[in-house]
C-alpha cells in the first residue's frame, strides 16, 4: 500500500511535476456529486455499463456490476446506457 508522501518545500521535490509514489492514495471519487446505484431486480447482467464506464470503475462480480466509489466521478454514463433502467443516479450525501 502506498502512503501520502509529505512535501514541505522545494527540498523535498523533484525539479518537475512528477509523482513520487503510487497514485492510489489519491481517491478521485471524492470529486463525485451524484453516485450510481444498482437496482438489482432490473439488471439483466448484460455488462453494457462495464463497457461504457470511461473510468474503469465498474467491476462485474458474479454477474452483476459493482461500482468502485473510490474512483467513480459520477458522470452517469452507465445509468444513461443501461437498457433496463437498472442504474439510477442519486445525490451524494456527505
Amino acid at each position: 500500500m502506498s502512503k501520502e508522501i509529505e512535501i514541505r518545500g522545494v527540498k523535498d521535490m523533484p525539479p518537475m511535476a512528477v509523482s513520487l509514489g503510487l497514485m492510489t492514495v489519491n481517491k478521485t471519487g471524492s470529486w463525485r456529486n451524484m453516485r450510481p446505484v444498482l437496482i438489482a431486480e432490473k439488471c439483466t447482467a448484460c455488462s453494457i455499463c462495464w463497457k461504457f464506464c470511461p473510468d474503469m470503475c465498474i467491476n462485474i462480480e458474479g454477474d452483476l456490476p459493482v461500482f468502485d466509489y473510490d474512483y467513480c466521478k459520477g458522470c452517469g454514463v452507465c445509468a444513461h446506457e443501461c437498457p433496463t433502467g437498472a442504474i439510477v443516479m442519486e445525490e451524494e450525501m456527505r
Partner: protein
C-alpha cells in the same frame, strides 16, 4: 576543419555533431534547409537519429518533448509563424524541464506575409521559461547549439538558439567544424534523472494544486539563475577545447567608449564596423552584443554601461504599446546605476530592413546629443 556553409546548414551540422538522437521538425521558410539537411543525414546513415516528420510545429515540439522526457537528446528548428504555433508546447517543455534545443530563424510575423528578419517571433516567447541565445555569425550558430545542449542538460531548461533570417540563414560563411572526438568529450550522452521508464512508472505533469505549483516555478527560476554560472563555466571549457571565446554579453571597444550601442544578432557585427568608423572620426563609440537574452545578464549589462555618457539600445523588435524589448530590459538592469546613465531606444530594421554601419554611427551620435523620442523609429518614412 573549415567549411563554407550557410547559417541553416551550420544548424544542421551542429545537431549532427551534438549527436541529437531525435529530431522532429516541420519545414518553413527560411528554416527549410535545416530540416532538409538533417533528414538527408539520417537517410544516408551519417547521423544516428530518428527523424520524425510531423504535421505541424506544435507536433514537432510535442514529439521533441516526448523524446526528451524519455531521456533522448532532442532537437527541432522553426521560424516565425511556426514558433508561434509551438507556443503552448514552449511552456510545456520548460515547465516539464525537458532540455530540448530549438534553432529559431528570426522572421517577421504576418500579415503582411514577410520572410525577412525581425525578432518579435522569438521575443514573443520571452516568458515561456526558455534560455535564449542570439547569434552574430554562422560560427556563433554552430558553437551556440553545441553549448546550448550542455547548458540545458545541466540545468534542465530548454534553449532556443536564434539566428537572423537570410542575413545568416542563407548567407555562406567560413565555419570551423570542431572534431567529433572533442565534441563528444565536451558533450557526453544525456543522462536524465527524471525520465519515463516503464520499469519505474511515474506520472509526469499531472494535476498539481497551488500548494506545489508555485514551488515548481520557483525552481525553474533558480535553474535560470544557475544557468548563468553554468554558461560561464561552459564558455571557459569551450574556449579551452576549441579556442573560441564566448560570453553572455560580448563588448567591443566598450571600456573606453563614451557612448555604447547595445545590439543583438547580426547587427552586432555591423556595430563593430560602426565602432571602427566612429573611432576614425574621433567619436568614442563602443558596442555590446547581448548574446544570451534569457537568463538576462543583468549584472554584466549594468557593469558594461557604468559611467557611460549615453547608451543607445538598437531593437529590431517592438512591444506594441510600450517600447523596444531589449531597451526595457536594459533600462531595467541599469536603473539603479549611480550616477544615472541615460539610455535611449532606437527601433530599426523591422521586417528585415537593412541596418547599416552608417545608421549605427548616427544612432550613437544622436544618443550622445540626447536626440531620442524614446523610442525613435529610426528612418521611418513619415
Amino acid at each position: 576543419m573549415k567549411k563554407v556553409v550557410t547559417g541553416n546548414h551550420a544548424v544542421s551540422f551542429a545537431s549532427k555533431i551534438a549527436r541529437a538522437q531525435v529530431v522532429a521538425a516541420y519545414p518553413i521558410t527560411p528554416q527549410t534547409q535545416v530540416v532538409e539537411r538533417i533528414s538527408k543525414f539520417v537517410a544516408d546513415g551519417e547521423m544516428d537519429a530518428i527523424f520524425i516528420k510531423v504535421e505541424s510545429e506544435h507536433s514537432a515540439l510535442a514529439a521533441a518533448i516526448g523524446a526528451s522526457a524519455a531521456g533522448a537528446r532532442a532537437f527541432t528548428a522553426t521560424s516565425s509563424q511556426g514558433l508561434a504555433l509551438m507556443h503552448e508546447m514552449m511552456h510545456w517543455c520548460s515547465y516539464a524541464r525537458c532540455p530540448v534545443v530549438i534553432a529559431n530563424i528570426n522572421r517577421a510575423l504576418g500579415p503582411p506575409w514577410s520572410i525577412w528578419t525581425e525578432q518579435n517571433d522569438s521575443l514573443a516567447q520571452r516568458d515561456t521559461g526558455w534560455i535564449q541565445y542570439y547569434c552574430e555569425s554562422n560560427q556563433d550558430v554552430l558553437d551556440s547549439i553545441i553549448q546550448a545542449f550542455k547548458v540545458s542538460e545541466r540545468v534542465l531548461v530548454p534553449s532556443m538558439v536564434v539566428l537572423d533570417s537570410f542575413f545568416l540563414s542563407h548567407t555562406s560563411e567560413p565555419v570551423d567544424f570542431p572534431d567529433q572526438d572533442k565534441v563528444d568529450e565536451f558533450l557526453p550522452p544525456y543522462k536524465g534523472e527524471w525520465v519515463i521508464d516503464p520499469d519505474n512508472p511515474h506520472t509526469f505533469g499531472g494535476l498539481t494544486g497551488p500548494d506545489k505549483y508555485y514551488e515548481l516555478h520557483y525552481m525553474l527560476q533558480q535553474a535560470h539563475k544557475d544557468a548563468e554560472q553554468v554558461m560561464d563555466e561552459v564558455h571557459k571549457e569551450y574556449e579551452k577545447l576549441f579556442g573560441r571565446k564566448y560570453g553572455r554579453i560580448e563588448p567591443f571597444m566598450a571600456d573606453d567608449a563614451e557612448v555604447l550601442l547595445v545590439v543583438s544578432g547580426t547587427p552586432a557585427s555591423t556595430a563593430k564596423q560602426a565602432v571602427i568608423d566612429a573611432r576614425d572620426e574621433g567619436f568614442a563609440l563602443g558596442s555590446v552584443k547581448i548574446r544570451v537574452f534569457r537568463p538576462f545578464p543583468r549584472e554584466l549589462v549594468k557593469e558594461v554601461c557604468r559611467g557611460k555618457k549615453a547608451v543607445a539600445v538598437v531593437d529590431r523588435n517592438y512591444s506594441f504599446g510600450n517600447q523596444g524589448i531589449f531597451f526595457t530590459e536594459v533600462r531595467d538592469a541599469i536603473y539603479d546605476l549611480e550616477p544615472r546613465v541615460p539610455v535611449y531606444s532606437y527601433i530599426t530594421g523591422l521586417g528585415g530592413r537593412d541596418i547599416t554601419a552608417e545608421d549605427l554611427v548616427n544612432i550613437g551620435k544622436a544618443a550622445e546629443k540626447k536626440e531620442c523620442d524614446n523610442p525613435t523609429w529610426w528612418g521611418v518614412k513619415l
